[in-house]
């Protein structure tokens, strides 16, 4: 029954100010047809404003938004044909589950019998088959979220917008729903724009992630490139666990406390000082001396914190201060791990040595 095709989204020069506050500062972004793109950023970064501009609820001051080759900047939200999922689920409490899901079909004047079969199909897809007659207040948080999803996809929209749809769920259910949503996206022929402040969620689900800060897009990349090759200190700090140390950069060489840092790639240019970003799980604990090819960050074990799947070792480095190392909690990770107060050899390999400017150029 699917006859739709996902649409690309082209955003260019989008601006929106509230007084002197720039919520969107000349945002340009191309989203491919069928892509799962996440807008990731802290609260107040402008990611929700951008999503609401796409939906048509926020009127930008200037710029262009195109769905396919159609300019929609002045199109009212109800004429944009989008599927939407809200953080609060926004299910109609006086309607049953089936009535909620059939709502977009009813608005579109689809026959009663068609409404029924399509709503049932959508509920089946979201693993809620047989829940049609329930009332919304009889459902759990996860089930409500699925109803909201079913309602957003039932009319086969070519673009689906999601505003932090999983943030109200507990951690375990959230992680489960992330996988489920990803799988659902592969079944649907729709472009998904997803907003979250949870970097792990963004890494899990997205084809590409746009990191938003101060109304601008700091970096847009695949999860892996974003994690391993951040363009700025903000991205490096916001995505993933890390500690950072200031470094001096001269002639494309970085120095940490006067010692040359071996780095695998050229150092990104930008403004402000540079930082060495250390991901705790990328450091290697060495039993003997640190190999010549790696950067030596050895120090003394200050504390060992057991965190279930992994162990966090806090190391006091002689000159740069505290460095965190994460080692797996399995036997291999624990063999030869020094105890508190002992010396620990830490190697940071050149390909894991991330040096970023304060602000991307």
């Amino acid at each position: 029954m699917s006859s739709t095709q996902s649409l690309p989204i082209d955003i260019s020069g989008l601006c929106k100010s509230y007084g002197s506050f720039k919520a969107l500062d000349d945002v340009s972004l191309n989203i491919a047809a069928g892509e799962f793109l996440t807008l990731l950023g802290p609260s107040g970064s402008g990611k929700t404003t951008l999503l609401m501009a796409l939906a048509g609820f926020t009127r930008p001051d200037s710029g262009s938004i195109r769905f396919g080759d159609q300019e929609v900047i002045a199109t009212p939200p109800n004429k944009r044909g989008l599927g939407m999922v809200f953080q609060s689920y926004a299910l109609f409490p006086f309607m049953t589950v089936a009535e909620n899901v059939a709502y977009p079909l009813k608005i579109r004047g689809i026959s009663k019998s068609d409404q029924k079969t399509r709503a049932e199909h959508a509920l089946d897809t979201c693993q809620l088959g047989g829940y049609g007659d329930r009332r919304i207040n009889q459902l759990s948080g996860g089930q409500r979220q699925r109803v909201a999803l079913a309602r957003a996809m039932v009319f086969e929209p070519r673009i689906i917008l999601m505003d932090e749809p999983l943030s109200a769920l507990d951690k375990k259910l959230r992680e489960h729903m992330q996988i489920e949503l990803k799988a659902l996206h592969q079944k649907l022929d729709a472009t998904v724009v997803y907003v979250t402040h949870d970097q792990r969620e963004a890494l899990t689900m997205s084809d590409r992630i746009a990191v938003v800060n101060h109304g601008r897009i700091e970096q847009i990349d695949t999860p892996e490139r974003l994690y391993r090759q951040p363009h700025s200190f903000f991205v490096a700090d916001f995505v993933g666990e890390s500690i950072s140390l200031p470094v001096e950069v001269a002639n494309d060489k970085a120095h940490l406390n006067g010692r040359l840092l071996k780095s695998g790639s050229t150092i990104a240019q930008g403004s402000g000082g540079h930082h060495l970003v250390i991901r705790p799980e990328l450091l290697e604990v060495t039993s003997g001396a640190v190999p010549e090819t790696a950067n030596d960050l050895s120090g003394h074990v200050h504390d060992i914190i057991y965190q279930g799947e992994s162990v966090l070792v806090i190391v006091k480095h002689d000159s740069v201060g505290e460095i965190n190392v994460r080692v797996p909690a399995n036997r291999a990770g624990q063999t030869g791990l020094p105890s508190k107060g002992e010396r620990i050899g830490l190697a940071l390999h050149p390909e894991d040595t991330i040096i970023v400017p304060e602000h991307a150029s």
């Binding site: 939906a55 939407m84 609060s88 409490p93 917008l161």
Partner: protein, 300 residues
């Protein structure tokens, strides 16, 4: 069982009885706190109501009879009083809804600060004595009052309109006094409606007007019904405003009760009217609950 174990189990038993008595004490405290209010309501509401309703079963000669009730259903005068009371109450309720609903909707659209200021305009009259407001309306509405004189000077009318001492005056005054009773519950309900719901409806394809009628309006109904019940029931028994602004030409139930006592000193007849008024109010509440499921509408 060792000595230590025996000691431990005795201590556990001791704990159980201590916890039980704590629970009983807590329940007694709550009961004690509510008893004064319950007593006051019993003494000043239930006893007089019971006494008055018992009076309604005695005729003027002091004999037990249904005479008073029979007269209510036979006399054309009483019948007209009931009809007028109902007509005025319905008119006041309808006008309050027509004025109050858009006002509340607008209040939800403006900023919180503006809404707070506007609510003061609703509440200040609400806190002012009904008598004062009614006399104020009398001044405004009379033949050479400010409304008639300004409309005449603007050339809208040639002759002063008959605004006071009649049905129009009673309804204008009552609407003014009843409006806050509609606005307060309705606004409280409208504020709890999640704006995301309306957005969701629009985002999924509803026109703004469609989203209002299909989503916002049903969500505001519990508050609207609560307001309607309040206004209608208060109107049924309203006395001061129709008595003053009606100029004796409008006879509502409460005025009939008053004149039955002050003019005819017939406590039995007056009590019968009071009982019928009370029953009417209860029937209205029961009907509203029955057909609109007030309790069901509150489920979120």
């Amino acid at each position: 069982m060792s000595a230590a174990e025996a000691y431990e189990s005795a201590e556990t038993l001791q704990n159980v009885s201590t916890l039980k008595s704590e629970e009983r004490r807590e329940r007694r405290t709550f009961l004690g706190l509510s008893i004064p209010a319950v007593l006051v309501i019993f003494v000043v509401v239930f006893l007089p109501v019971l006494w008055l309703s018992s009076l309604s079963f005695y005729n003027a000669a002091g004999e037990l009879s249904m005479e008073n009730y029979a007269r209510i259903f036979e006399s054309a005068l009483y019948k007209r009083t009931f009809v007028v009371t109902f007509q005025i109450s319905v008119a006041v309720t309808v006008i309050c809804v027509l004025l109050g609903y858009p006002l509340c909707y607008w209040l939800t659209k403006v900023s919180d600060k503006t809404a707070a200021i506007l609510m003061v305009f609703v509440l200040v009259p609400f806190w002012t004595s009904v008598l004062v407001r009614t006399y104020a309306w009398l001044v405004l509405l009379q033949r050479n009052g400010i409304i008639n004189s300004s409309m005449m000077s603007m050339g809208i009318i040639d002759e002063p309109l008959q605004l006071a001492h009649n049905l129009t005056g009673s309804i204008i005054g009552m609407v003014h006094i009843m409006l806050p009773f509609l606005v307060l519950p309705l606004y409280a309900t409208m504020r709890t409606v999640d704006t995301d719901l309306v957005r969701a409806a629009i985002g999924l394809g509803s026109s703004p007007r469609g989203a209002f009628w299909r989503v916002f309006f049903p969500m505001s109904l519990p508050g609207l019904f609560a307001g309607i019940v309040l206004v209608f029931i208060l109107s049924l028994g309203f006395f001061v405003t129709p008595a003053l602004l009606g100029g004796g030409r409008v006879q509502m139930l409460a005025q009939r009760i008053e004149s039955t006592i002050t003019v005819y000193s017939n406590w039995g007849a007056a009590s019968a009217l009071g009982v019928v008024l009370l029953l009417m109010a209860l029937v209205v509440i029961w009907l509203m609950n029955r057909f609109f499921g007030l309790d069901k509408l509150f489920i979120r």
